[in-house]
Amino acid sequence: MQRFRLHQGGLIDRSRPVHFTFDGRSYEGYTGDTLASALLANGVHMIARSFKYHRPRGILGAGSEDPAGLVQVGANANETDPNMRATEVEIFDGLETFSQNCWPSLSFDIGAVNDLVWRWLPAGFYYKTFMGPPANWMFFEPLIRRAAGLGKAPEGKDPDRYESQNRHCDVLVAGGGPSGLMAALTAARSGARVILSEETPLLGGRLNALDPSETSINGKTPREWVAACEAELAKLPNVTVLTRTCAFGYYADNFVALAQIEQDHLAPAARDAARPRQRLWRIRAKEVVLATGATERPLVFHGNDRPGIMLASAAETYLHRYGVKAGNRAVVFTNNNGAWGSAFALAKAGVQIVAIVDARPAPEEALMRQAASLGIPVHPHATIVDTRGQFRVKTAVVRRLDGHRGVSGEATVINCDLIAVSGGWSPNAALFSQSRGKLRFDAGLPGFRPGPSWQAERSAGAANGAMKLADCLAEGAAAGADAATKSGFAGTNPAAYTLQQPDAPSYNGIATWQLPSGRSASSTRAFVDLQNDVQAKDLKLAVQEGYASVEHAKRYTTTGMGTDQGKTVGINAFGILADELGKSMQEVGVTTYRQPFKPITFGALAGQHGGALYAPRRTTPMHDWHESHGAVFEPVGEWLRAQVYTRPGETFASALQREARTARTSVGVLDASTLGKIDIRGKDAREFLNRVYSNAWLKLAPGRCRYGLMLKEDGMVFDDGVTACLAEDHFHMTTTTGGAARVLNWLEEYLQTEWTDLEVYLTSVTEQWAVAAIGGPKAAEVVAAVADKFNPNPGNFPFMSFREATAGGIPARIFRISFTGELSYEINVPASYGLALWERVMAAGDKYKITAYGTEAMHLLRAEKGFIIVGQDTDGTVAPDDLRMPGMAKTSADFIGRRSLTRADTVRKDRKQLVGLLTEDPSVVLMEGAHIIATAVEPVERPAPALGHVTSSYKSPNLNRSIALALVKGGGELIGKTVYVSRKGADPIHATVVETDFMKQVGSHS
């Protein structure tokens, strides 16, 4: 039973009723309704509680401007959407919606106790509490967390799909109202590529809220004219019309982001799984037309926040767009002529207008006569001083204004169930402001409107301060012509139109930022921000406490900082601040408008980049083998690498111990394909290497390899790796897996910008080569079987050398290098043969019980040998000497970072140096990152003075004990001494400082 639904009218589909629930109660509406219009049709006004005081909140607006009518949509904990505006949620069969920020229920809410203590929750309450003594915060934090809040975030993984799309266009028109339609038609007819975006489901904007019997365009009703425009635009191949699409961000160089709702409004059964839920459009437009309309302002008076108090234009929208009466007995409260039209429209639809209260001393004669003819009592030069009604407004108390910021005369008490308010209109200049255009105060509006543009855009219609339909149509056409012309379609003429409309006085608003109530300032509760519960007196308090800038006052009071971005707040707040500061509106200015214009889902912003597509994932040619052999993968840079291979019955830890043991006792093989590889050629390649590596490279002979360290100019280690000399002018460089791109960029930068005289060519060949690193006592036997007619014995093939060979006919490069300290060979083959090589190695190693080992065993094996991993044992503050590696800084020539190695700070004796640590108790494995201290007892001093930290720590199966690497202040001097490793909730662990090569000092493989 939709008690407040009119028998006819509205743009809803009465043949398709819809059933939905709000807080468990079932209601009926029609297809085309929003949650707000359907609830209003059922007489439900109170739908929410406010953020701070938990005051009852109703429906103020009819679109994205509505401040506080926020609901939770969807019962499924994984899919539920919090903080959705009831004025924007389209209903469908089975839709479940809930009130939020209240407990146990909307009508009986414990949190409303905040409202009883409101005197003690003034502006800046949170700020003062948080900035005060810590005990305040400790006491209030749990209370505040529970009491203040909005909806519940979904719990699980987002089940929906999102997409994003890039587009170029000649003309982007933001806003599909009368101005936007004229602009789009004009530009489209010129042949320009046009995109028209409209935030709501229907084109037409304010036309949808007009009485269809009173206005005609081109001889058609407003709705018919909109339909004709839509049909024409749909036929043009150069036009894209996007409804349910909000232009939410205007960025540099006419880059505009749009968020499109594709399926939120459909019942789950009607959704197309092949289509995304929402889509992000990233548009680069040559020219932009901003036709984003205007927002009606509420009036700031005592008791202005009850459910049933609504913008006059919203009441008119519910009437004509949705066929819903927002009430039966309405008071219309205004400071301009526009709301008189709303009053007459409501009266015509059968709403009893029990009063028009106008704050202006002398409303227009013509309007007074029309009101009299309809029997509407008028209270000129008056204000509402109070309202009553717990969950819905029941009465309004009216008194005369005395012209001196006060009230006088008798109070008139008027019974009503709706107060339609209008404080004038503010152009929606958010996008204009985001484009870095400058707003100007227009005293005629009064309000801020677009001034000089910064980017290639222009505003048209209500967004530009034009409040008459005729002006909107004309400005829209002119803006479309200008945009098309400037985007290269010269000579475009504005589209023509004819308009018939009854004569109405122009809107003639006055500045009424707040209204007196005759009450003391401290007992007045006049709300400026209905979502964040900011009252006029909070702004005054902010000024008194010294927050003189509008930006500071906004933050101190949280004015306009809710999810509505303060669309109905701004000018009233700026006006109150201007009054309080005794400054002009232009002087006070506006706060910065920021993207997004309204809340956008993270899903839409993430687009396709979720789950497996979150980031590019690179796999090696051997990946399938790893996968089918129990590999546990870990991301390393963009690569997925096998971390360990678990066999049946093995845990991660036991598999790791087996792999690391076998690699030292028999033979192991590592997929090292991910190592960065750079092919370096050119007559100056050798000189180039000598400049980028800290050690010497001029004498490296063809067929030989060398380990090198790369530094940044600050002298700190940046990357390391082995580079082989293939020929006098040809080298094969390897980098760390994660550093490959960084190193290539770094080398390119120096070649292009510093050493342009060097003839060197760099090519990334990381993905061209697949690499199997075979190591262990039986490695030579395996390599002999893998390679064709090749003698890998150390006597024939010395350490740090390189040979070309074939392996089963596959061309191969074999390097005798080692990252484990064992006899090792790295066989490189063209990537497409990677799996074939791998399987050949596994077959050849079978009789030695070869094991594939992953990155975890690789880390362990290299730590046993004291080899570093850049980025784990170094952190950008470690110079070559800090690693205690001799011979890594040549003196024979300059290299990147050289001069920094003799800086006073780099040669400090107490720099952190890399050392080994052996715990007193060999079974204790230190925690990586743990702090190292000098005392056996945890010091009381905070922060505790630390000597350094543990960088790598493992349980070594080959040494049968724990080992760790650490950066310790003056570590080289501490060899043999005891240090202490801090831990939480227990005494520090005793450890001895040792050299980093554990294999050498701990002795025989056990």
């Binding site: 960025y251 870095r436 200015g589």
Partner: protein, 116 residues
Amino acid sequence: MLLITCPHCGTRDQSEFTYGGEAHISRPANSETMTDAQWAEFVFMRNNPKGVWAERWMHASGCRKWFNAVRDTSTDRFLAVYKIGEPRPNVTAAGLATPSGEPVIGSGNDAAKVMR
């Protein structure tokens, strides 16, 4: 997202480029004779003006070439782009000094400016 003109390829989205900081800083050839302070000046210190300056960009997702640009940091307008090795063109900011038309020193917000 800015539009940036690569002198080799033409105008592309900012997402194709990486930034390289201040331009026209040469690596000293005589570092061994420099004081710590002089060397630190080269390694660590860069200008950060509000206004016109020269900076380096690299067309990472394109031709991968480094180039220089003159940009007005108060407006984000590119005033010139030129190849490595070419001298800095003599250009100055044209038109409004900043989007809001205020002097190049100070906040972009009118209110903050008036209130100060």
